[in-house]
């Protein structure tokens, strides 16, 4: 399932990584943010929206590796952030899609406004297709179900594919095998 997901997601310009443990995944995210220039300099911050899997302590553990992480996501902070980090509830294999019960506005702000979006998702939450997703996540559970397949794109000028119109220019998906445990 993971390999198919990866192939499908990469085919739409997403980057996909997998780690056995939460700690390695978080370390990877910290390195990624730092490499991408997240820093304490003005306009160098990243926003990190809470989700169902990581505790506040988990999130804070990343902070030393990537300074200027903000967990109090507001529209102003998200609009000026270099990167946004969120947790996705499920990943749909046959389309390479992330699914997010995005009722809380912070997750939508962090995943839409910054140019880089990093999404963490437990490997155990891979589902084969849309039908399987809807059996787990539907209007009974969420008022704002967001599906994300690759970064923002357009081909509205001369049919030339261009990445990053209104949403992120880069989408990095980080799977952790033990992320959902105990949640």
């Amino acid at each position: 399932m993971y390999e198919t997901f990866r192939a499908r997601a990469e085919a739409v310009s997403a980057e996909v990584h997998r780690f056995p443990g939460k700690a390695e995944a978080l370390q990877f995210v910290a390195d990624l943010l730092r490499r991408d220039g997240v820093s304490a300099a003005p306009g160098g911050h990243a926003v990190w929206a809470g989700g169902p899997f990581l505790s506040a302590a988990d999130r804070s553990a990343v902070a030393p590796g990537a300074p200027a992480l903000r967990f109090d996501v507001t529209r102003e902070l998200a609009a000026t952030a270099r990167a946004g980090v969120t947790e996705a509830d499920f990943a749909i294999v046959n389309t390479g899609t992330l699914a997010h019960a995005a009722d809380a506005v912070e997750g939508r702000l962090a995943s839409t406004l910054p140019p880089l979006h990093v999404a963490l998702v437990p490997t155990s939450r891979l589902v084969p297709d849309l039908g399987a997703l809807f059996a787990r996540l539907s209007p009974a559970q969420t008022r704002y179900l967001a599906l994300v397949t690759g970064p923002s794109r357009t081909a509205d000028i001369e049919r030339v594919l261009t990445i990053g119109v209104h949403g992120p220019k880069r989408l990095v998906i980080v799977f952790a095998d033990d992320l959902a445990e105990g949640s």
């Binding site: 390479g96 839409t112 209007p139 179900l145 990053g164």
Partner: protein
């Protein structure tokens, strides 16, 4: 056809970019669509969609009420608007009550349909389209030319000019930089907007959910940043159950752009919190605007199954040449013609319905399983009923319906054309007829029609008999094709009769919306064809075969003539198209083709009716291969050659461009021979090759086969 309309076609055909971007897209689309559907059973998928949407269209009121109840229970406000004005009044009143000054919109065809922007702007509101293509169109003051790709007709240079004016700075025509500029500019508008207006791709009655599909992410921002969200939803978007979102969401991106899924899908089921923690105000406007009337009309109810993917535009050989603006209204292309006839009025569709060449490409790919060509014929028929047929057309069909007069005139024309004829082709016609021979030469009318020569063929007597239905072209222009059919069937021990009472199959009348004339032709032919007891009624013209096999009954039934419709079914049951019958006789061992010959390369052109109605495209290819020809497939072998009967006379400029594309595809194969099974295509291709001077021969499969068997 109005002169303005003709001028807009001429301008569109001359617009190099239109042909360029659109042509490239339509060529790439077929392959990317096919790839996207690789893991899916498209027929099963579209049956499910047609079932879901067809069911919903049968109970719009009930589903609208259920949607309202479910959405209201979740905290949304739902307004049912009968007319465009009601929507405009509602949105403006809302904006005034809330003191709103600025609006951001994500793509909504329904709001285009009712011209909402103009109304809000006139009242002093700032309205910004945020879909990149829509924003370009808004800055240019134009209408979208495509439902999914609104600005596909524009070049990057034109976009750079527009953006330069907007930012008051000279910008280069560099696409990534233009996109970056749009991001920056529109981001400001998003963050400042008071109201976000969206459409919806699906509205689910049982949950009160809206499904929004975008690639850019603008719908996410429109529904997240402003404190008020207004969704304008046509009633055709309603479905009953949430689980039925799956087939629609599976098909829509694949059919629209060849994507497995769009970058973003938002499924909104009630208001959520705003960024300041306040509850969002969510207003859903359910727009009727004649949709209930359309759903209540049995002929047009299937149009409600449309999911607005625009694949009917993407595969249309006419759309790719002229683009969307010649359609003159919000909705363009095949389904757009039908929607315009309803959402505007029948008169608005009078000219544009004539653009449809009835090739059937769109019907093959429609995920809503809509027989769009048939709906356009119905529009055509109603236009003809309401406004009367053009005088010249009425005169022509009254001649055609009088067989003796019609055939007498054809014989007279055979003499009159002599001064213009060389090698069986008419290259230049004088005066007002000159347009007819601009792109292609016309075939000369044969000195003797098939009905005169056929009696001279010495046939074996046999208990197994077939009636040959020639059709006008084979009878009067290509009698040799008919003789070839007789010779081949004779070889298999079948005696061929030529019922003299046969006349025009009525297809031209039917395709012109003149069903009464078509019915008269049908009755005359049915009488002639049922006079003798034969095993088969065979025709070497796919269009005539379709008329005999599928349309006689439909035409008669639509006029309430059940008695003749029943007889039409007897004709239909016996009717078979030549290549299919010949292959059957070969397989039964009754016809033997010489083995081991190498006759060289040939390419095959599929006639629209043979491929998409009769589904017989393999039979002729097999016959040609078995006789020793190597088939080199041409690019888009099954795309219409532009003939389509009287279409090439009514819109010769479009027909000529389609022919030119076809000739280029033929030339690229390097084959010296084109085979086809339709005398109409043969006329078009042969005439085009004659005018262009390409040394390629065009032959009917029957003639090639007769020569091989000899």
């Amino acid at each position: 056809m109005g002169n303005d309309f003709r001028r807009s076609i001429a301008a569109a055909l001359d617009d190099a970019n239109l042909g360029g971007a659109l042509g490239r897209f339509s060529e790439a689309y077929r392959a990317s669509r096919a790839r996207a559907y690789e893991d899916h059973d498209f027929e099963a998928l579209r049956r499910r969609i047609a079932g879901v949407k067809g069911d919903a269209a049968g109970r719009l009121d009930e589903l609208a009420a259920r949607f309202t109840a479910a959405a209201v229970a979740r905290g949304a406000q739902v307004f049912r608007a009968g007319s465009p004005q009601a929507v405009k009044d509602y949105v403006l009143a809302l904006a005034r009550e809330r003191g709103a000054r600025s609006v951001v919109k994500s793509k909504s065809m329904a709001s285009e349909e009712i011209h909402l922007n103009a109304h809000l702007e006139a009242a002093g509101l700032s309205v910004t389209e945020t879909d990149l293509g829509e924003w370009i169109i808004q800055l240019a003051g134009q209408r979208p030319s495509h439902m999914v790709m609104p600005a596909i007709h524009m070049t990057k240079e034109q976009v750079a000019d527009l953006f330069s004016k907007e930012v008051d700075e000279r910008l280069a025509a560099d696409i990534p930089r233009l996109v970056a500029l749009a991001r920056e500019r529109l981001r400001e508008r998003f963050l400042a907007a008071d109201i976000g207006i969206s459409g919806a791709n699906v509205a689910v009655a049982e949950t009160g959910s809206l499904v929004l599909v975008t690639n850019e992410g603008n719908a996410r921002l429109v529904t997240t940043l402003p404190r008020i969200h207004v969704a304008i939803v046509g009633l055709e978007k309603l479905i009953e159950r949430f689980e039925d979102v799956v087939p629609i969401l599976t098909a829509l991106p694949k059919s629209a752009t060849g994507q497995l899924l769009t970058s973003y899908v938002s499924i909104i089921s009630g208001p959520v919190a705003n960024t300041d923690g306040s509850p969002k105000e969510l207003h859903v406007i359910l727009l009727d605007h004649r949709r209930s009337d359309m759903a209540a009309d049995p002929s047009f109810k299937p149009a409600m199954q449309c999911i607005r993917c625009a694949s009917c535009l993407n595969v249309c050989p006419v759309y790719r040449l002229v683009g969307g603006h010649v359609f003159g209204k919000t909705y363009t292309g095949g389904i757009g013609t039908v929607l315009t006839a309803w959402f505007d009025d029948l008169a608005s569709a009078k000219d544009i319905q004539g653009l449809c060449i009835q090739c059937g490409n769109c019907k093959e790919v429609c995920p809503g399983m809509i027989d769009i060509p048939q709906l356009i014929l119905e529009v055509r028929r109603r236009v003809a009923q309401e406004q009367g047929q053009p005088m010249i057309q009425r005169a022509i069909f009254s001649v055609v319906n009088d067989r003796r007069l019609f055939h007498g005139l054809l014989r007279a024309a055979s003499l009159a054309q002599k001064p213009f004829t060389r090698n069986g082709l008419v290259r230049h016609l004088p005066l007002f007829l000159s347009g007819l021979t601009e792109a292609r030469s016309l075939p000369a009318i044969a000195p003797e029609p098939l009905r005169d020569t056929i009696g001279r063929i010495a046939q074996p007597r046999s208990a197994e008999r077939a009636a040959l239905y020639a059709g006008c072209l084979i009878d009067f222009a290509y009698p040799r094709t008919g003789e070839a059919v007789v010779e081949i069937l004779n070889k298999a021990g079948v005696e061929v009769l030529f019922p003299d009472g046969q006349t025009c199959c009525g297809a031209p009348a039917r395709y012109a919306g003149a069903y009464e004339s078509a019915a008269e032709s049908a009755r005359a032919n049915i009488e002639a064809l049922l006079a003798d007891d034969v095993r088969w009624i065979v025709s070497a013209c796919p269009t005539c075969t379709v008329a005999l096999k599928h349309e006689f009954g439909a035409t008669l039934r639509s006029l309430g003539d059940e008695a003749w419709a029943a007889k039409a079914e007897q004709v239909a049951a016996k009717t078979i198209e030549f290549a299919t019958l010949a292959r059957q006789l070969v397989e039964e061992g009754r016809l033997t083709l010489p083995e081991g010959r190498a006759l060289g390369r040939a390419t095959y052109h599929d006639s629209c009716h043979l491929k998409r109605t009769l589904r017989a495209e393999q039979a002729p290819r097999e016959l040609l291969r078995r006789q020793g020809l190597e088939i080199v497939e041409m690019f888009e072998a099954d795309v219409c050659c532009g003939m389509a009967g009287s279409y090439s006379l009514k819109l010769p400029e479009i027909s000529g461009r389609m022919l030119a594309r076809k000739l280029a595809s033929i030339e690229k194969t390097g084959a010296p021979l084109v085979a086809t099974d339709c005398p109409g295509c043969l006329l078009q291709l042969r005439g085009g090759l004659d005018q262009s001077g390409l040394p390629v021969e065009v032959r009917h499969t029957a003639e090639l086969l007769a020569e091989a068997i000899e």
